[in-house]
Symmetry: C2
Subunit: 220 residues, 2 copies
Amino acid sequence: MSEDNYSLSGRVFHKIREDILAGKYKTDETLKEKTIGDELGVSRTPVREALRQLELEGLVTIIPNKGASVVGISKQDIKDIYEIRARLEGLCAKWSADHITAEQITELEENIFLVDFHAEKKNYTQVLELDNKFHEILYEACNSKMLKHELSAFHHYVERVRKITLSMPDRVEKSNEEHRLIVDALKKHDALEAERLATSHMLNTISNMDKFGWDNLLEN
Amino acid sequence: MSEDNYSLSGRVFHKIREDILAGKYKTDETLKEKTIGDELGVSRTPVREALRQLELEGLVTIIPNKGASVVGISKQDIKDIYEIRARLEGLCAKWSADHITAEQITELEENIFLVDFHAEKKNYTQVLELDNKFHEILYEACNSKMLKHELSAFHHYVERVRKITLSMPDRVEKSNEEHRLIVDALKKHDALEAERLATSHMLNTISNMDKFGWDNLLEN
DNA sequence: TTTTGGATAATTGTATACAATAATGCAAGT
DNA sequence: ACTTGCATTATTGTATACAATTATCCAAAA
């Protein structure tokens, strides 16, 4: 499912996922097909399809003949995801160093410039979007369909976490500085350095969360 | 979707995935809902659900109003997957070193013993099943829902590759020896050594494929 | 021969009907 | 008051109907 898929069933899928990640449904809350369908003005069919896709993403558990319920995401789960991403973003940067094009480097540099611009204005919605874009350029640059697929999924999964971290004191500036160092390494095609920096970039996000608190994110 | 989910829609999902991975459908071949449904003796509904799940797994592409087609897996894709797995299996072994229970270690040791037994008899079906089991015990032992989820998905994805590598000359024996070393490290709770060994275990699989040829696996 | 238009068929998208299963509530018995 | 059993309701599972979209084919024109 590409992100710019605006079919009805695609919209339902994204909407329910968004609602889950936004905390609209509590952990273990059952998701009734008819209820959600009525809410979104569609029949059960697209809702069912969406719920089954969400199960595959791990956001929902389905027990046959009983229905779907929301899988909770704990603080430990998020830490684990960032540890996983640390390794995979590292791999991505390593491969990107060998495959990145001049155009992509230009895009990354423009991205860094724009983040500076919007961070100053505390326009965090824009910053989040640019952060998305930065990483997606890298996912493309690594030249691996499989790695891109995995990282994109994770990236989406933790969007809510990223929204919060990026609004924490100084984090946008630090993050953008880390981005700049990664791009410098990529320009020099220094694969190992790029990998090291990208890995740190992820681990720093967790350090930042540890420092400034998880309180506004989770109940558990 | 747990593996022991025997609901009809679950069965359809697993069946289509199996057929794709077994090469029943060629790359870019379109998968028609009605055709598959008739073949499996079900209506389009469960087939549609399955196809949408398979899209999320990356095995299928769906273009709205046009339908689903099989995504090809190239040699490079497989190499990439093993590079990704190398890092994640390494992480898994690292975490397992701290969390593994005595029972799990016993299970792993029994597994190694049984692989020796069945390898001698060239009973490769059994060996593949035991290899599945070995890794799944580790996925459980690492104590991370997220990592387990990811690794299980990949593991399934390359089942066909593993089936082939395990039937190559001496590979079962070498693989089992690598398993033994990993378990030894886990028994000593030596996280770094376990990580190093698990990573190598994956990379060795690729070396093995490079040495003995990809010819009987792929067309591209 | 090649191309184009449009009718026809095939296929997907969604809603709904019905069947199977699970949850709920309530009355009867202890 | 507290179970237990059964009828009722709610919910999911699957099939089917119909609408919307796309693919195919063939005749007519260039």
